[in-house]
């Protein structure tokens, strides 16, 4: 009927709903995440039943596939390691209000830098454990440096040329995947490689097998992820650089008021995010691949990291449980794919449903907070 009343009314209602979502406490958010996961799985089971498969068997296999055996747990932790690291890379940037969608590209650049630096320096170093440790160190450092540089680039473009980081990082993803794809099929291709890939890393360049004996998982890899989380959490909460970054993310105007140079902070944030993404690439290359293949086919850890970070409300500590949940789903998915006749599309759809349910509320929260909704003006 009337516009004043309509705008008032709908505005106040919108603000009220937004308020619930945006002002949720940590505990409420954990509740939202757990509830959303359970609800999404429930819907998934209904879909499985409607498609003519046994939902109980599916549910059992979901759990068994994620945590049912030593092998399953190792596989879950393998995926989790990468999800935690990639999620952490995204979370650092999001926390500081920079939307780094380019973790995938930085991950690829870091991975190839790691592999090639090891391959090229291996002849000059001793073999065996000492050489292995040195080479891993060299590979990891190179991955971090190149990943960081590849993140700094869009950061500098945003800070000094005003280029939207979402667009530049997405484009840089394509560039990284394309160029590295060409490299591993051309100049970097291993001489004896039968498929498109670099030479193999020397077999002494590997993380030691502790607790689990899975060729593609080492507790050391997971340890690196956890240590990275602790390190980032420390930087963000205990150092003035972290305070500058987080304050920029919460309220850029207040950060400016307090003397934060927004341009430097954007570049620093993107660099740090890229460094973690590069580290993810190194862990992936050393722990799982042992060489480098065409990056178009190695999995979208960088993109999945966005969902992990959103699920964790961009909290670095929260990335660990979120990463493990995603690792479990991924692991269960690959298990079910082999052990049951449920089509892979359906499995991925259900995993997608979980992602949608748990991550999207946080996405809306961030968008809402950017638009100035939520909060109490009373």
């Amino acid at each position: 009927m009337s516009s004043v009343s309509d705008t008032d009314e709908s505005k106040s209602r919108l603000e009220r709903i937004a308020g619930y979502l945006l002002d949720a406490t940590v505990l409420e958010r954990i509740g939202i995440a757990v509830g959303a996961t359970a609800f999404a799985l429930l819907i998934g089971l209904v879909i499985v039943a409607l498609a003519g498969y046994d939902p109980f068997r599916f549910a059992t296999q979901l759990v068994v596939g994620a945590f049912g055996s030593e092998r399953a747990i190792a596989r879950t932790l393998r995926f989790s390691t990468l999800f935690v690291l990639a999620g952490l890379a995204v979370a650092v940037a999001f926390r500081a209000g920079v939307f780094n969608i380019g973790v995938q590209g930085q991950f690829v650049v870091g991975g190839i830098a790691c592999v090639m630096s090891i391959i090229w320096t291996a002849p000059y170093l001793p073999t065996g454990t000492v050489g292995g440790v040195l080479l891993i160190g060299i590979g990891v450092v190179n991955a971090i440096v190149f990943g960081g540089l590849y993140g700094a680039l869009p950061g500098a473009l945003k800070a000094y040329a005003g280029a939207n980081e979402i667009i530049t990082t997405i484009m840089l993803n394509f560039i990284a995947i394309g160029v590295v794809g060409w490299l591993v099929n051309g100049p970097f291709r291993g001489e004896e490689a039968t498929s498109v890939r670099t030479e193999q890393l020397p077999d002494y360049v590997a993380f030691p097998q502790v607790v689990f004996s899975d060729p593609n998982f080492s507790v050391v890899g997971f340890g690196i992820a956890v240590l990275s989380v602790i390190g980032v959490a420390f930087v963000l909460t205990r150092t003035r650089y972290g305070y500058d970054m987080v304050t920029s993310g919460y309220q850029a105007t207040a950060a400016r008021f307090s003397g934060v140079d927004s341009k430097q902070t954007i570049v620093a944030t993107m660099t740090l995010s890229g460094m973690i993404a590069g580290l993810t690439g190194a862990v992936f290359a050393i722990m799982i691949q042992g060489s480098y293949t065409d990056p178009a086919g190695i999995g979208n850890y960088g993109f999945d990291g966005i969902a992990v970070s959103l699920l964790a409300a961009n909290n670095p500590i929260g990335v660990v449980p979120a990463g493990i949940l995603f690792g479990g789903l991924e692991s269960a998915g690959s298990h079910i794919q082999i052990r049951s006749d449920v089509p892979v599309q359906l499995i991925n759809g259900i995993i997608g449903l979980v992602v949608l349910f748990v991550a999207v509320p946080e996405l809306f929260r961030m968008i809402g907070a950017r638009m100035g909704l939520g909060g109490d003006d009373r």
Partner: protein
């Protein structure tokens, strides 16, 4: 016109709770028909909440609403509107790219053969507008965003009248207006009253309540302290009701003389966000133990000037010297470190991180200063102690450092910011609208702190759109108009009227020329 002494609105025992917070506690309020009733109170005293209950935005927890003798239960503003209650919000509810005509009729379009009958609308709006001498009619096809705030406010009023409102609620209508526009608004309110409308005028300004209203109801902490006839009270009496004690209003004489210059800005030129020059060739000097005031209608370059001095905005030309050093090229951070404190204009956006608690907010601006930080590491226990002492010394309510900044009322947020900035032990304090939107008790408190700072020898640059504030505190006052200082005067030697002239760009001794390019005459035409 309706009969005298009949009741237009009666709110009886209204209680409104939000969770544990009681915003209104058993408030009874009566609006007589054909009168103006001021609702006076500090920020956070529950004025707007009470009126939102009347306007159907909130449902009361308890109590009854009677409009025109009928008990009402408004589920939404739509119901309130139907009962003849209209509200003009502090933040206008206008759609900026749409024209005035479209805004007024929106949702109430007169139709002919299923199409909007623009002619009928045009005629009716013109009628309303002429009746009250508004200049809205000639702007009917202008997008709202191109009109100034005063006109926008009148569009809001026309909009309510167009929808048939008898009772008009005006929420802090003067907050956004210049003194001249305030006068014009008062005339409009008089006309509306003469025409039989009943008005509720929400304000926290005593003089406005006294001059505009027939009756005044004072709210304090969500309770109605009392209702008085405005003819039977004065500012002191109202102030006492508002804060529960006497408040000082007089200009305080200073002891001691200002010392050496601390801040010297020469030939300063600064551009605004859109690249248009906002500060044109300003020179200023602030000395030790001096409060240098800058008065003027907002938007005449004060913001840009302050931001240039505090290091938040780069300058186009000129030099800034601070403490004997050239500070022209210093970054914001270097300026903080060298002893410039800044109480920003926008406390919500700049002065505090809303989602941080007060401990984390106590670090804001101190990130590079020992002992808040030791190298790269933040000494959180020290920061927490510091936050604690600010809360204690500056009387921040509630007295806890763990609450989020956003949960504090405006006045308490401001006290915290003022405390943090003063505790920085600055050589120069830049205070921009330090008491805007702050209740009267906190105003007095902040003023006293600024005076203490002055007596300690700190140089202070004070920008305020409140004339009485600048006059009370400043030793010298520059009046800014269109990016320039019109004059620098001794506040004791200039009357309020003379200030008013200066603020519109005239010199004190200058004859007011009714020529076409001068603000005053034009303004009267537009109002």
């Amino acid at each position: 016109m309706s009969t005298d002494n009949s009741t237009a609105v009666r709110l009886d025992g209204i209680t409104k709770r939000f969770g544990d917070v009681v915003a209104n506690d058993d408030v009874t309020f009566t609006l007589e028909e054909g009168t103006i009733h001021a609702l006076l109170g500090e920020n956070g005293s529950g004025k707007t909440t009470l009126m939102s209950v009347l306007y159907g935005l909130y449902q009361p927890t308890d109590g009854t609403i009677v409009v025109d003798g009928e008990e009402q239960s408004f589920a939404s503003p739509r119901d309130a509107m139907a009962a003849g209650v209209g509200m003009i919000h502090q933040h206008f509810q206008l759609i900026e790219p749409m024209t005035v005509l479209q805004n007024v009729v929106l949702g109430h379009e007169p139709t002919k053969n299923g199409l909007v009958d623009e002619e009928a609308a045009r005629e009716e709006i013109t009628q309303i507008s002429d009746r009250y001498g508004f200049d809205v009619a000639r702007h009917l096809d202008t997008p709202v965003r191109d009109l100034d705030v005063g006109v926008q406010q009148r569009i809001e009023i026309v909009k309510s009248l167009y929808r048939g409102a008898d009772v008009l609620i005006l929420d802090e209508p003067t907050a956004v207006l210049t003194p001249q526009e305030v006068d014009a608004l008062m005339e409009v309110m008089d006309d509306l009253r003469a025409d039989g409308h009943s008005l509720i005028f929400i304000t926290h300004k005593l003089d406005e309540a006294l001059s505009a209203a027939d009756q005044i109801t004072v709210l304090r902490d969500g309770e109605a302290v009392g209702s008085v006839d405005s003819a039977e009270t004065d500012e002191r009496g109202l102030a006492r009701m508002m804060v529960g004690r006497e408040v000082l209003f007089d200009r305080l004489e200073r002891e001691g003389e200002p010392g050496d210059p601390v801040l010297t800005a020469s030939d300063l030129r600064v551009s605004g966000d859109r690249g248009v020059e906002q500060v044109a060739d300003v020179d200023l000097t602030v000395r030790e133990g001096e409060i240098f005031g800058i008065a003027g209608v907002q938007g005449n370059g004060q913001t840009e000037l302050i931001e240039a001095i505090t290091g938040l905005r780069s300058i186009d030309d000129g030099t800034i010297e601070f403490g004997g050093r050239d500070a022209t090229e210093m970054s914001r951070r270097e300026r903080i470190e060298s002893g410039i404190a800044y109480v920003p204009e926008d406390r919500q956006k700049e002065g505090l991180v809303q989602e941080y608690d007060l401990v984390r907010n106590a670090l804001l601006g101190n990130q590079t200063i020992e002992p808040f930080v030791d190298g790269a590491l933040v000494d959180w226990p020290f920061v927490a102690d510091h936050a604690e002492s600010i809360v204690e010394e500056y009387d921040v309510q509630p007295p806890t450092t763990t609450s989020e900044a956003s949960s504090l009322s405006g006045g308490n947020q401001q006290k915290f910011i003022v405390g943090r900035e003063i505790e920085r032990d600055p050589d120069l304090m830049v205070a921009s609208h330090p008491t805007r939107g702050v209740d009267i008790g906190a105003i007095e408190f902040i003023h006293n702190r600024l005076i203490e700072l002055r007596d300690r020898g700190v140089a202070t640059l004070l920008v305020s759109s409140k004339l009485e504030e600048v006059r009370k505190l400043a030793d010298r006052v520059a009046v800014m108009y269109e990016g320039e200082f019109v004059d620098i005067v001794d506040p004791g030697g200039v009357t309020e009227e003379e200030f008013g002239l200066l603020m519109t760009g005239h010199g004190v001794d200058e004859e007011v020329d009714p020529g076409p390019d001068l603000g005053i005459e034009d303004e009267e035409v537009t109002e």
